[in-house]
Assembly symmetry: C2
Homo-oligomer: 318 residues x 2
């Protein structure tokens, strides 16, 4: 049966498991030696919604599916562990494409210390890739959630924003190659920065999948607070301003609404600020101060003239 | 945004988590207090392949998706823990249908001691439900794999076979109601039997999703052995013979090829046979002796006249 050939080819494409893996691919379930806390998330990308075959190669889809899932572990500060992959393919889908998708996923797994320990390949109405990632921690101190932002905390973000959104504009405009396009196609989960920031004592953390404007609302809602963010403080990625201007958009608005940068938005108690910036730097990233947590609800963006702008939204749940 | 309303409604449909759940729905990832061994599997059902909206209600799809995933934990002998659910829906899909699907899944989760601890709802090309289940064990002795069947072991199966396949024939023939149809629509994962049999020392175990003919081949291949099974020993479920006759099929052939009974196929060292049958009984099941493990490879079925039949296949991976 052809599907079984594909499954065998996929199994061969995976790297041998680490020493904590007792059983893996080929059994009814994987068996992993646990650490004290198991951190788990599932994330799905579907053809026609999260990617289009005209603009994303199978390799890019594989990368993106695992990267988006790992980004949730980054946002918790967890160490990566295992990934379990469900691959839904139309009946006539070329095996070579499916294998390329898995190979690229396996390459990202290797680079991030993740074992692809199980999966499922089934027929279905289109290409859909679900990835369940399992991370680990030894104590709750090592992790950060969404719900503990406090009045007076600093609001900050890692790295720079807007590259993925600008890359998508270029791809949709027919320009396939370039750094911004690559940022859109192969987002990198900020695992090292997430671990470092959680251990440095940030009060809350979330990864920017839907865009800062929307993801900041999640932190505000979960914490029962209001986030005030200076638009002029937004670290806009190199090259984004030119693309935004060409598209008739404001660069900072693009940067906070376009999403899929997978940088980390954090709230930091004032007394932990120095530790947090040092932690981000040690992890090879940067931390930009954007504003502060105040009493109230929701998110407001402060314009250059001091006026507050509400209601900005990123790409909501698709 | 409508999708967020649906996600909130889904979160309300879930039971409160158990005490081992530190963080769950609403954070970037769930955080669970681990036991020593983490047992994980992902399983996917897709519209048009594993179910059809004409014959499966949303509630039945929800049940089936979680039941199939939990059956993999049963086949390992693991205790159930958490489930992570990815729900892909067409854009115009009625929210009521999606909620009914999740409610029925939540009901099965409650009955089996499983916490639905996270998930994802996205748009996509059709209804696709992926469920990643996490189970737990305290030591490897409590678990069984696929790969340790040995020459001389007894081959045995829990419960009876063919009800799901016969139910599907009736459903496709326009007869919607009845016990066999219910067996097809709401398969039950044999969690208690799986735990009991693993602890009683079976040498290998697998759940019957693709049908005994195919799943027995998996045990034979993984163990490097051959399974010889007496067709006359197959425990055919009540009512299956009549349906098979009406469809011009042999009842035992239907029972070993139709699949989706989710009973457990085991190989048992001779000296553990009494313990295994007692364990199955205590778990509310039965264990039928089907044949034995011999040197060689593959699976053969012995007919009433003593002749061996090879090449029988169940529903292969779809």
């Amino acid at each position: 049966v052809a599907e079984l050939d594909l499954i065998r080819a996929i199994a061969r494409a995976l790297s041998p498991p680490g020493e904590r893996v007792v059983r893996w691919v080929g059994d009814d379930a994987a068996v992993i030696k646990a650490r004290p806390l198991c951190v788990t998330s599932i994330d799905t990308v579907a053809e026609g919604v999260h990617f289009h075959s005209a603009t994303h190669s199978p390799r890019e889809v594989g990368h993106k599916a695992l990267a988006a899932a790992l980004s949730d572990l980054a946002a918790m500060g967890a160490d990566t562990g295992e990934a379990y992959v469900s691959l839904v393919l139309p009946r006539a889908h070329p095996h070579g494409d499916a294998l390329a998708l898995v190979e690229e996923m396996a390459a990202l797994a290797d680079r991030t210390g993740t074992t692809i320990a199980g999966g499922d390949v089934v027929s279905g109405p289109g290409v859909v890739v679900s990835v369940c990632v399992v991370g680990w921690a030894d104590s709750e101190d090592e992790l950060a959630g969404r719900d503990a932002a406090k009045e007076g905390d600093v609001v900050a973000v890692t790295g720079s924003l807007g590259a993925s959104g600008a890359g998508l504009i270029l791809i949709e405009g027919g320009s396939a190659q370039g750094e911004l396009q690559e940022a859109h196609r192969r987002p990198q989960p900020r695992l090292a920065a997430g671990r470092a920031l959680a251990r440095a004592g940030v009060s809350s953390m979330i990864d920017l999948s839907d865009g800062l404007a929307t993801d900041a609302r999640h932190l505000a809602l979960a914490g029962g607070v209001r986030l005030e963010i200076d638009l002029e403080s937004i670290p806009v990625a190199a090259g984004v301003a030119e693309v935004a201007t060409g598209a008739g958009l404001d660069a900072r608005t693009l940067a906070v609404t376009a999403g899929e940068d997978y940088e980390l938005l954090v709230t930091v108690p004032q007394e932990r600020w120095d530790a947090a910036t040092a932690a981000a730097r040690t992890a090879g990233s940067t931390l930009s101060r954007l504003g502060e947590v105040v009493a109230g609800e929701g998110v407001a963006f402060r314009e250059g003239d001091g006026s507050l702008r509400e209601g900005l939204r990123g790409h909501e749940h698709r």
